[in-house]
Symmetry: C2
Subunit: 152 residues, 2 copies
DNA sequence: CCTGTATGGTTTCATGTGCAACTATTCAGC
DNA sequence: GCTGAATAGTTGCACATGAAACCATACAGG
């Protein structure tokens, strides 16, 4: 497993955390152009919208779990999105502590417009990979994530 | 290439940027425990040390390029590390604008202690992957990065 | 019921970061 | 050799973020 990295030196180009961070950063930055420039959304806001688009109705807590964002960060993103009438937030009738979030018509419309662009962009990004490679990539990433979860 | 994601819904678990970000975040967080708790280094400081350990002598500019960090961020990390006598910073005799950075004895000693722990931790992380898979993973990531570079 | 505890979410505060303005040094063109 | 543009690095400022304190609601045990 260490065949790639000589034992004496510390070659960062073969160090997974570094490579992962660099790639994630570049991907994130490039993707952000899609929703920042045209829709004035920051990363947190985009993620909230994406999850609401995906799951239809969620509470802030659930979004925290899905996105690994701090609850304060989610709270603030929700406030902005609500102020822009892209989502609605109403206390659950069952439990007044939690608030059900969902897209408004406007929010839905925005996502219907934005999501295809995002998907097209991703397709462009992963074009150099074969379908099989892409599948393997996600699979390996999944195994690494699971390993981190069990450790913590 | 889109066989995995149904065309109507937007499944974030098969969306590479999201998966990449989540994994990088988890890896980064776990790794940070190694150098934060015991050595009181933040991410920026760790990266500067790692690159100086790797390359022996660099300028702030070169570290910016390697790490994709803002020059202000590098500058501040350097100030802290210099204050802790982990690195030295001297103006290049050739060009007084740029400052050559290198590890001090203490910095070297710290890295000699820390790097093996970091490598062991990474080895543990990627243990579920075969050598070949690991190689392919880095290769795929490299291709994705190159794709982003040519686009920008 | 009433009291104490747990939970969802908000707000406050300290900190880290990026951008832009700035300083110091170099270098090209005249 | 000056002058003006370019470059390495620093600093000021505004903003986003995370941790912790906080508020409101729910719920369990007496």
């Amino acid at each position: 497993m260490t065949a790639e990295t000589p034992p004496t030196d510390f070659d960062l180009d073969h160090f997974l955390p570094y490579r992962l961070d660099r790639l994630a950063d570049r991907v994130s930055e490039a993707l952000a152009h899609l929703y920042e420039a045209h829709y004035d959304l920051n990363v947190a806001q985009w993620r909230v919208l994406a999850w609401l688009h995906h799951r239809h109705e969620l509470t802030a807590k659930q979004i925290c779990a899905s996105t690994r964002m701090d609850k304060a960060r989610v709270s603030r993103a929700v406030q902005v999105l609500e102020g822009r009438d892209l989502i609605v937030r109403r206390p659950s009738p069952r439990d007044q502590r939690l608030h059900e979030l969902r897209l408004t018509e406007a929010g839905q419309a925005l996502m219907v417009e934005l999501v295809p662009q995002v998907r097209a962009w991703e397709a462009e990004l992963v074009a150099p990979l074969t379908t099989d490679e892409y599948r393997r990539l996600l699979d390996m990433m999944g195994r690494l994530e699971r390993r981190l979860q069990e450790g913590e």
